[in-house]
Symmetry: C2
Subunit: 453 residues, 2 copies
């Protein structure tokens, strides 16, 4: 194993390894649902398994495994594995009858609960047969130290084709030399000028000084306690999925003068509100959501993790769905307006400074004991706009599966794809025994908004 | 959670928890294969799942979970769980087509690699459909701190019936009050007399002083190094199974003047020898096996872990199968003869004293770095003699799945049942990539012995 091929991890990536516990495995997943091609041979799924086990090349980060850490060195390093046991990483699985959403949800819940083997490249893939309606599924799990969910979804999409064809190339296949496809370093680049530093005190002012006429900028750690959403989590996961119609979301957004993301947050808010009310556990104050958003300037592809959080009120203290949507829109708007008022160079440092304490609490495991930084994380990630294919099989949906941590038992992430918003709910099994209902409620909340607006 | 219901673990049971690592999970498993009843309804397997998830009562050890350990207390304790999420513990799984031995072996290998969740009672059960030949399977995994494989197999057998019927009661169902069905304490009982102590020095003499005319009593740690069998293990497992005919084994044993166990060891020896020869890795000196045996006096049911090891030569340095069987028989005979020459009260302490260093090496994780105490562990456990049934489904086979540890990458265990010896091979995935061949070779070795003798 050449030392030249070892790569030190960034502090952020390393933290996903260092803070990982039995109760909070730090991997993300993607669940893809495909329709079998018309007249597919009976062995079609098997042929996907075989092709996935025999890539013609292997690209980063799929070939990276943990290197032994020399004493005295703080951060773990990764190196390229000499040999990869693809028969281990790629598994052929099956659902019991009737092969519906319930059976698929149970299998993915169990698969997502299992920690990755640290002696191998930190990913696995399950190709799953036995779904009803002539479908099959592929679930891919990768450690957050190797890839976040957004990048993972992109790598998967890049392995698919725009048209039905014969290519069954897996996401880890790469024709380019592996060493040249490294993940960009997450080390912060030195900014060209430090003038933005002088603007920072002003940037924080609205968080602490509130004036009656200015819109309220929600502070981190301003979330009410919710045992269901913010209690201690254990290692087992429960997942649920919902597919929302993007045209319907757009129609509602247009009528309400809101963004697609506002409507998505309102749908999640309605589902959470209904679920907590039914459990007699809705806090009097509104739930708050941490909403990750890209702070990358247009055309800047090099800066690594340029992701900040917007702190949004979910307005769960408001009964009327229309007023709730308006309040969510106003809360997001106040943050956006504030960010836009800042020097462009100050936006990322500002977002990082509000975001860092929340991340510190989450990855330290203290989350279940401290006041939560937010009640839930809700992401909305743009994905491919046009249908994609694996060989002749059409991709019907791609659901993100994410990471609950101590103090944040639920993650809701939506990925858009070919006219749909595919929403994955990932929860701690013990905290959220009826997670499936959230998915059902979200679908009903969208229909309700459509009827009201 | 009543403190009165907490139970301190014995040092031995606690060691299985304390020494557990990502690379060496400490659970045992049992794989049962059933034939579907004639004219079984299509939902038969589903009805087993449902019944297994709804026991009418729950007995020890199935309801025990780890209690938080107060600071300053050395040993972990178990207490009875107030609520058990049977939907978590009992899973409905399926094999991909064609549902043969290969697909079943791959699934069980992966299931046996996954550590148990320490926040719940330390067991899981998978009811598996999709086997060919109208069969289904049940795989049960339990932590060694709750049960060893022998006791686990007995609990499973006790839940089955002698005749086809309608009872689908799971092994964890118990009508008796749970608290009264505790595992007997493993704390050693004070012996009535200490006279046996004076015999111990004599008991050890043959291990160190060898005389030309006396049979050689094999010493612990007298095993040659074998990277394949005694190298470092990682967390992934590989399992293989073989069903041997007991009548055939008995016939061979009778002709050779050997015991059933001698023939079983000879079969394992032949398989190992052939496999290591093919890999050009057969040590010049014979491999040795640790063979667990009960040291319980007849009628003594109370003494807990009265298990010692016999240290047997596998005579892998001998080419002729008949001479190999004779050498194995002589090696076992020398130990047995020596044990029988001891005061009955000294047998268990003696066996414990030779066995303890081996256990210490194994559970400490030092096994991969020190000279191995033995090359392989081979157990032969008597099981039910007559066919058993789950409802109308006949149990066709029950295979043990065991624990590789650092320095001992392979375990071979046979359990007799209804005229067959069901042999489970459990190996470290990375050390033994062709484990399946061992199972095939074992079947062929039995046929060869039958033809020669």
């Amino acid at each position: 194993m050449g030392a030249s091929r070892a790569r030190r991890l960034s502090v952020l990536d390393a933290s996903f390894l260092g803070m990982e516990t039995r109760d909070t495995p730090m991997h993300v997943g993607a669940l893809q649902i495909f329709s079998l091609p018309k007249n597919a041979a009976p062995g079609f799924v098997k042929s996907v398994v075989q092709r996935y086990r025999a890539p013609k090349a292997i690209g980063r980060p799929w070939n990276l495994k943990l290197a032994p850490v020399p004493l005295g060195r703080l951060l773990p390093a990764m190196h390229e594995a000499d040999e990869i046991d693809f028969h281990y990483h790629v598994r052929h699985s099956a659902l019991p009858g009737p092969g519906g959403e319930r059976e698929l949800g149970e299998l993915i819940s169990h698969l997502h609960s299992q920690p990755l083997d640290r002696t191998r490249p930190l990913w696995t893939c399950h190709v799953i047969e036995g779904l009803h309606d002539r479908q099959f599924a592929i679930y891919i799990k990768i450690h957050h130290a190797l890839s976040d969910g957004v990048k993972g979804a992109r790598m998967i999409a890049a392995s698919l084709r725009d048209k039905p064809g014969t290519s069954l190339a897996p996401p880890w296949e790469s024709q380019a030399p592996a060493a040249r496809r490294g993940k960009p370093s997450a080390a912060p680049r030195a900014p060209a000028s430090l003038r933005w530093l002088t603007t920072l005190p002003g940037a924080f002012r609205p968080l602490f000084l509130r004036t009656p006429d200015a819109p309220v900028v929600l502070r981190p750690f301003e979330a009410p306690n919710s045992a269901l959403l913010n209690g201690r989590v254990t290692g087992a996961r429960r997942i649920a999925t919902q597919q929302l119609d993007l045209a319907q979301i757009r129609r509602i957004a247009k009528r309400a003068g809101a963004s697609i993301n506002d409507v998505f947050l309102a749908v999640c808010s309605a589902a959470l509100r209904r679920h907590l009310l039914a459990s007699d556990a809705l806090p009097a104050a509104s739930l708050t959501a941490g909403v990750p958003m890209s702070l990358r300037a247009d055309g800047d592809d090099a800066s690594g993790n340029a992701v900040g959080f917007i702190w949004a009120s979910l307005a769960t203290d408001i009964e009327d769905p229309r007023q709730r949507l308006a309040a969510i829109r106003a809360s997001i708007g106040a943050w956006k307006q504030h960010l836009q008022s800042l020097d462009a160079a100050a936006r990322l440092p500002f977002a990082t400074l509000t975001f860092t304490p929340a991340v510190a609490v989450m990855v330290s495991g203290l989350g279940a004991r401290l006041r939560p930084p937010m009640n839930v994380i809700i992401s909305n990630v743009p994905g491919p706009e046009h249908p994609l294919y694996l060989g002749g099989a059409r991709l019907d949906a791609m659901y993100p599966v994410s990471i609950p941590v101590q103090g944040l038992a639920l993650n809701i992430t939506g990925v858009s794809y070919a006219g749909k918003l595919n929403v994955g709910f990932t929860g701690s099994r013990d905290r959220l025994p009826h997670l499936q209902r959230l998915a059902v409620y979200a679908g009903e909340a969208l229909a309700e908004l459509d009827a009201l607006l």
